[in-house]
């Protein structure tokens, strides 16, 4: 745009067109901010004409997952209960991007209230994987991942609580990064599980993901869990690709039972490429990072969900059902307005927090959480990054796992541990298996996004773009 090859108005118009077209294909988007985006584009071009762009990214459009507030626009979390809700303010991350001149063009499909790994739990119906329309795009940020993969968005924001950016990024063959807990403000992100949630970028390249992260990261006084970043942690310059001497750990537990053979082969040969670039690889053992982490996650997360979703009661906003009493209004509004997966998780959380079970489930899980955090700390004394497949399989068929909640939960077996410990993690596409993308996950120490991005960038250079 600096070279005047494209104006913001042209870019935004193209983005809106592509988003519309997506409704006949992958169905990545569920709503557009057309009027708002068009007027922002005009303003952006005017700024550039004056020689006063807000940043290098002034006028660039981006897509937003349907669970982040964009002032005055609809926000539904892909749920019937919020179908007509409008956000009164913009999320911290959105504000930062708009301060840089970037323009939100529309909201992308997701699993309802970010609960799911396939984007099938959406009141709008599923989004389809652009690589094979019979397959799921992953979830819960499936719409954002599909949009970037098919080109109906240049970059997108997603949210990740147990893998919801990384897993769909893997399914759709794009880069997806979950920042260290506390790096990006959660203000204006509809809370799912407050001690796990993070907003992060999805993009075609690691450079774009890094650029987006650099814009959205940072302390926000509106989010008391956001951490003031040290200057040296900030993503201020381009990420390099020098990884000589980088120590990579491969946890044996992530390369064993349950992992698809082709996925393993693709990931291992990608790791080989990193070795050729000078990285050192060793096998490590993190026995609690898979099933124990998943179990702890599926106690703590639903507990936090049950608390966070208690505000959605049909009283001040959302779909209100009529009833004889206030209690009935609550029961009917929530019973009818929440989908099956949401009801499941609210119930599990309510049970785990209830009198008589609180210590055995919730507190126990929090203790296991501390053990898992310590496990990673110990591992990171001997290695700089931990590499795993992002997902045990490639994308599965739409409808295949709808009757089996646990099978869906298993999809996150390699990603949840990262949220349990609050570490940063990135998915990098590393090849194809039967025509479907395979993703490799790189996990780093707290606030070492630069390290995982550098490794991701190096791998990307070797693997190149995935082609159909």
């Amino acid at each position: 745009m600096a070279e005047k090859r494209w104006s913001s108005v042209e870019l935004v118009e193209a983005a809106l067109n592509e988003a519309e077209k997506s409704s006949e294909g992958a169905k990545a988007f569920v709503g557009l901010f057309a009027e708002r985006a068009r007027s922002q584009a005009v303003e952006s071009d005017a700024r550039r004409a004056q020689g006063e762009p807000k940043s290098d990214f002034d006028g660039v459009p981006f897509a937003v997952k349907d669970n982040m507030c964009v002032a005055g626009e609809r926000l539904s979390c892909a749920s019937a209960i919020l179908r007509n809700y409008r956000a009164p303010y913009s999320a911290g991350a959105i504000r930062r991007l708009e301060d840089a001149g970037m323009i939100p063009t529309g909201r992308t499909n997701m699993d309802e209230f970010a609960m799911g790994s396939s984007t099938e739990n959406s009141v709008y119906g599923p989004t389809r994987n652009p690589w094979n329309r019979e397959m799921i795009p992953g979830g819960s940020s499936g719409g954002s991942a599909a949009a970037v993969a098919e080109g109906s968005a240049i970059v997108a924001l997603g949210s990740d609580t147990g893998g919801s950016i990384r897993q769909p990024a893997a399914m759709c063959g794009v880069v997806g990064l979950k920042p260290t807990y506390g790096r990006v403000s959660r203000y204006g992100l509809v809370a799912m599980a407050s001690s796990f949630d993070q907003i992060g970028p999805l993009a075609k390249t690691t450079a774009d993901a890094a650029a987006l992260l650099g814009l959205i990261e940072g302390h926000d006084p509106n989010d008391s869990t956001s951490v003031p970043l040290r200057e040296e942690s900030r993503l201020s310059e381009a990420i390099g690709a020098e990884i000589k001497g980088l120590r990579i750990g491969l946890p044996a537990e992530c390369f064993g039972e349950g992992l698809d053979g082709q996925v393993e082969e693709t990931v291992r040969s990608a790791v080989e490429k990193l070795v050729q670039l000078g990285a050192e690889v060793r096998e490590i053992s993190l026995p609690r990072m898979t099933t124990a982490a998943l179990a702890a996650y599926y106690v703590i997360m639903p507990s936090e969900v049950s608390a966070n979703l208690s505000r959605i009661d049909g009283v001040r906003y959302g779909a209100r059902e009529d009833g004889e009493s206030l209690s009935e209004v609550y029961g009917k509004s929530r019973g009818r307005g929440f989908g099956a997966e949401v009801r499941r998780r609210v119930m599990i959380g309510t049970y785990a927090l209830s009198s008589g079970y609180y210590d055995d489930y919730y507190v126990k899980a929090l203790k296991v959480r501390r053990l898992i955090a310590r496990d990673y700390e110990r591992a990171f004394k001997d290695v700089d990054v931990i590499v795993t497949p992002t997902s045990p399989t490639t994308a599965w068929r739409i409808g295949e796992r709808v009757d089996d909640p646990l099978a869906n939960y298993m999809a996150d077996i390699y990603t949840v541990g990262v949220n349990v410990a609050g570490l940063p993690g990135i998915n990098v596409p590393c090849g194809l298996a039967d025509g479907l993308p395979v993703g490799l996950q790189i996990i780093g120490r707290h606030f070492e996004e630069k390290v995982i991005l550098r490794a991701a960038n190096a791998l990307e250079g070797e693997v190149g773009r995935l082609k159909k």
């Binding site: 951490v227 009661d313 206030l326 599990i348 309510t350 049970y351 959480r369 955090a373």
Partner: protein, 115 residues
């Protein structure tokens, strides 16, 4: 209390028996969660919740003697905000009022709390 039944294991569970919730327990949890469920929903939820709870009960096998619970993974403590009114813009206020499911003028209308 929990009933224990011998049922086929879900692949990956540790226990020989599945923790089975009773219908009464499901109803009790639904009431706490303020969720109205149909009978059909209660039945399938009972089975699904039971198998999920069975899966997570493997946490019991892990020794956590002397381990402190970890709920917040970052390092901040006691982040205070000044006790000052920040208010909101007219635009924000309007959107909030437009979101009311039922209103009279600018006032939110709700069912009586005390009846």
């Amino acid at each position: 209390m929990l009933e224990r039944e011998r049922v086929p294991r879900y692949a990956g569970t540790v226990n020989q028996e599945i923790m089975s919730l009773t219908s009464e327990q499901v109803e009790h949890i639904a009431k706490l969660a303020r969720l109205d469920l149909t009978d059909g929903e209660k039945d399938s939820l009972r089975d699904q919740l039971s198998s999920i709870l069975d899966y997570v009960s493997q946490l019991r096998e892990i020794d956590t003697e002397g381990v402190e619970p970890l709920s917040y993974v970052a390092t901040l403590e006691n982040v205070w905000a000044d006790d000052e009114i920040k208010g909101c813009s007219a635009a924000e206020r309007n959107v909030i009022i437009e979101n009311f499911p039922d209103k009279e003028g600018d006032l939110l209308k709700v069912k009586a709390v005390f009846s």
